[in-house]
Symmetry: C2
Subunit: 257 residues, 2 copies
């Protein structure tokens, strides 16, 4: 496709999205970020120009992807000098209505994945959820999303919000469990690598089994002796102990149901 795209944002998601679009033959005409370094870096990566003032975003692109912090969306969009171009935000928890008033044509394209700069990802396997304010705009977004991913579905703002909450548990909170585990290792002079096969298998298991069937360990049977031994080992770290207790209790409660 020869559609020109402008990328508003230069963070993790913006970077991955711009790169994936370029890889599928889209032209990236401009990158906007309030941080010049980020804007310049991404612009160079995708052969685009860049601006740091939203009023300098040109009206010549066919579609504008908005991949900035939710709070910044109205601030940046209110400074655009045009109103009729297709604006597409990429956020899980932001309703489509946030774009209302800034353009006559708008929608959402939410790729459900955790993006870190410098980490390559196969975009074709990322589930992408789309929404739009008209059938025509939905068709345009569907076309673009489908060229990037083999897994595109229409989803309204409320369900996308729920999906984002679920993703926080499955990804951000999970990653924090890895982080806490690593702290326990460090505290006891053990290397990070030792848990990697376990982390991998825990994630692989639930690709086939429901998590309720995959659960193992002391909390599911509320093995008090092991649990109190673990709490003793956690020593003076009250915050970590409280977290250990409340997650263990939540696990136990789930298996009592």
């Amino acid at each position: 496709m020869s559609l020109n795209c402008t990328i508003i944002g230069a963070g993790n998601l913006a970077t991955h999205l711009a790169t994936a679009l370029l890889g599928k033959g889209y032209n990236i005409s401009q990158v906007y970020s309030q941080t010049e370094k980020s804007a310049a870096r991404l612009a160079q990566k995708v052969n685009a120009g860049f601006v740091t003032d939203p009023s300098e975003i040109k009206s010549s692109a066919g579609i504008y992807f908005v991949a900035i912090k939710d709070d910044a969306i109205p601030i940046v969009l209110s400074k655009l000098v045009f109103k009729n171009k297709l604006m597409v935000h990429c956020s899980g928890s932001t309703p489509i209505s946030v774009l209302q008033g800034y353009s006559e044509n708008y929608g959402v394209m939410y790729p459900l994945q955790t993006f870190s700069k410098g980490r390559e990802l196969d975009f074709s396997k990322i589930p992408v959820f789309i929404e739009a304010n008209s059938k025509a705009n939905l068709e345009t977004i569907q076309k673009i999303a489908s060229s990037l991913s083999g897994n595109v579905k229409e989803l309204d703002s409320q369900k996308r919000h729920a999906l984002h909450v679920a993703a926080v548990f499955a990804c951000n909170f999970t990653n924090h469990m890895y982080h806490l585990a690593d702290e326990v290792l460090k505290e006891n002079g053990l290397p990070s690598e030792v848990l990697r096969p376990l982390i991998e298998e825990t994630a692989q298991k639930v690709q086939e089994l429901h998590p309720a069937k995959a659960q193992t360990g002391p909390a599911v049977r509320y093995d008090e002796k092991i649990i109190s031994g673990h709490l003793k080992l956690l020593g003076q770290d009250t915050g970590l102990k409280e977290l250990y207790k409340s997650i263990s209790k939540s696990i136990f409660d789930h298996y009592q149901k």
Copy 2:
């Protein structure tokens, strides 16, 4: 090797261990479990006999693997009618000393993995941690462990305990996050499958990146608008909301350091 093994236990770990030993040419002579059905099932799988009374465990094996609940170890071992055979327990949080008095030869072989029946695992990639009450026993355990896994290390009881705590965070608590995520999906009419690529990538990321570098999402920047929207979506589920809040706070605290 032609060493005869007896497996005390018939749960997830016992099943995987017995199967792996058989696969490496060891003979499994007997399986013990207090539950006849489990004992018979595993015995059949590994061409062994089985007993449900610990006093009927024969003294003819060369090594006895103890893979039962920690609390049950002294109860079962006190009923053995022999004292000189090599006893090896497979538990993370149980010190080697639990075997003292039940045999003159004892040790530990702890495979760090999450085992579920019916799920195949490549034992050769599982980190295995060993300990023994004598150099000779350590050598025997080292030999067996190394025939099963390419990743065998000696570790004392205290460090193994810490490792088990870390594993609870990285595996059991992580799996519970998957479970809670799935509940949010269900509550909102969304299918489980949708999170699988995210779960996989979250685990893959930390095979290379430290979790502190891999973290994304609203909690790390304490985005109050998104967090309060999420809490609202979780609705009446007070337990889940409290967990959401305390994990988010713990994430934020870690990135403020």
